[in-house]
């Protein structure tokens, strides 16, 4: 579909940053378990001026949290650009189209569309998983709403939603040689930017990026790679053994385990810094997406020490 250097004005500041070729930074908002808007605004304020956009997850890890549409609105109010995530796990095609319109109406200028973890991995494993659509269907439908101004049924909208469309891909999960092909399908379906699964395996990522380049996809889509700041071997083991699809190589585990007692958090932070530095040098990588669990302090410190701060850079003209 539309190449990333299209003539149309950018729909979001994230899109503007990527078009300008600036190394982009996004961060995952901590999920909120409650109905207090102030809690979301406070978290978002901490990220203001430090990221291009902040992801509002959709029942992350298959556990309910404050809705991503609501969170996205409060992030906007705090002066930060949200990326509203929607998964296919909890809604059918009617609900998803309603929420795509709702996200745009509430001011979200980026959406990220995913399949979603299965309910079995969350705290309501007895729930009925929906999966009426897959993420590629959802990507195309988001583009139909935006670019054709109709629902999937063909019925006309009175006004079109306005968002930059994102997808995810996991270069680290089998079948590895199919992953670049799947990415190309997502681009064909309508993805304009990609956030990958968390990267601990740089050689694997470089192979993936090379193949994505061979397929001619780098001219059509911007790829942000996720970086996680591990605080301990326990946290790493949790990611490896409990979160599906995360590849933590043994040498990474050994490196943290080999740190002096009380030094694991420091070593984990150094690891994240090194990965960010390596990603900046990896051809085709347009930015990083930062993730930490149990508080965003590690993300803020990483932005500071890796020199990723947004403020003072002028690639983006604000509204």
């Amino acid at each position: 579909m539309t190449p990333k250097a299209a003539a149309a004005p950018p729909r979001s500041q994230l899109e503007a940053a990527l078009r300008a070729g600036r190394f982009a930074v996004t961060a995952e908002m901590q999920p909120v378990n409650g109905a207090d808007p102030e809690q979301v605004r406070r978290l978002a304020s901490g990220l203001k001026g430090r990221v291009d956009a902040a992801n509002c997850t959709d029942n992350a890890a298959a556990r309910p949290h404050l809705s991503p549409l609501a969170a996205g609105r409060f992030v906007v109010e705090a002066g930060v650009e949200p990326i509203v995530q929607l998964t296919c796990r909890d809604r059918n095609r009617l609900g998803l189209q309603a929420d795509l319109l709702g996200a745009s109406a509430l001011g979200a200028r980026n959406v990220l569309l995913l399949t979603g973890d299965d309910v079995s991995s969350g705290d309501h494993p007895e729930a009925k998983p929906i999966f009426d659509l897959d993420s590629l269907h959802l990507l195309r439908i988001a583009r139909i709403l935006r670019d054709r101004g109709t629902y999937l049924s063909g019925r006309a909208l009175s006004s079109r939603p306005d968002y930059f469309v994102g997808a995810v891909e996991n270069p680290f999960a089998p079948p590895h040689d199919f992953r670049p092909v799947r990415l190309s399908k997502k681009v064909e379906a309508g993805a304009e930017f990609i956030q990958t699964q968390i990267c601990f395996n740089l050689p694997r990522l470089r192979e993936f990026m090379a193949r994505v380049g061979d397929l001619g996809l780098l001219e059509r889509v911007s790829i942000l790679v996720s970086v996680y700041v591990p605080r301990s071997t326990r946290a790493l083991r949790f990611l490896r053994d409990v979160v599906p699809g995360i590849d933590v190589p043994d040498e990474v585990m050994r490196r943290l385990a080999g740190a002096a007692p009380g030094e694991q958090a420091k070593e984990g932070f150094r690891l994240a810094l090194e990965i960010v530095a390596a990603l900046r040098e990896t051809p085709g990588v347009s930015g990083v997406h930062l993730i930490s669990i149990g508080g965003q302090e590690a993300i803020l410190r990483l932005i500071e020490e890796a020199g990723l701060r947004r403020e003072g850079e002028s690639a983006v003209s604000g509204p």
Binding site: M1, T2, C88, R89, R93, L114, T115, G116, D117, D118, S120, S121, P129, F131, D132, L133, D134, S135, L136, H137, R140, R143, I144, D147, R148, T150, Y151, L152, S153, G154, V168, E169, N170, A173, P174, P175, D177, F178, V181, R182, S184, K185, E188, A189, Q197, P244, G245, D247
Partner: protein
């Protein structure tokens, strides 16, 4: 075009021919491919592995939750349906490139009907009106 008859649900019993086709298709494809009778078969595009056995009903490739050993995140004792589909598709001469195709959303009305009949009538190629529209 009228929706096809179903085996046993809200639209009532199928006619004799459709009923017979459903029985034969199920008897052949269930033991061979674990067929779920979605009524819109894409086995040839997915390495002769039925994608409806994916717990997320994915029609366009594996999710990001595939375990490092190639097994399913939902059923860790089973290989991922799409890992098997990718392997299977590599062995197919004509249809191997179909793994690159974008398959449309499932039409859930066809569940339990005969994909053979739906192929013959063209019913399985009917997609939602805005799905295939070209101009963007």
């Amino acid at each position: 075009m009228a929706d096809p008859p179903k085996s046993a649900n809200r639209s009532g019993a199928p006619g004799a021919l459709a009923g017979a086709l459903i029985a034969v298709e199920k008897a052949v494809k269930e033991p061979l491919f674990g067929c779920r009778m979605c009524g819109q078969c894409i086995l040839h595009s997915t390495g002769l592995v039925c994608p409806m056995n994916c717990p997320k009903n994915l029609r366009n490739g594996p999710c990001g939750g595939v375990l490092v050993d190639g097994h399913c995140e939902v059923y860790p004792d089973r290989p991922c349906v799409w890992v098997e589909a990718w392997k299977g598709s590599r062995r197919l001469p004509v249809f191997r490139d179909h793994m690159e195709h974008l398959n449309p959303p499932v039409d859930w009305r066809l569940q339990g009907t005969s994909s053979w009949l739906n192929l013959a009538t063209g019913r399985d190629r009917r997609v939602p009106p805005a799905w295939d529209a070209e101009e963007r």
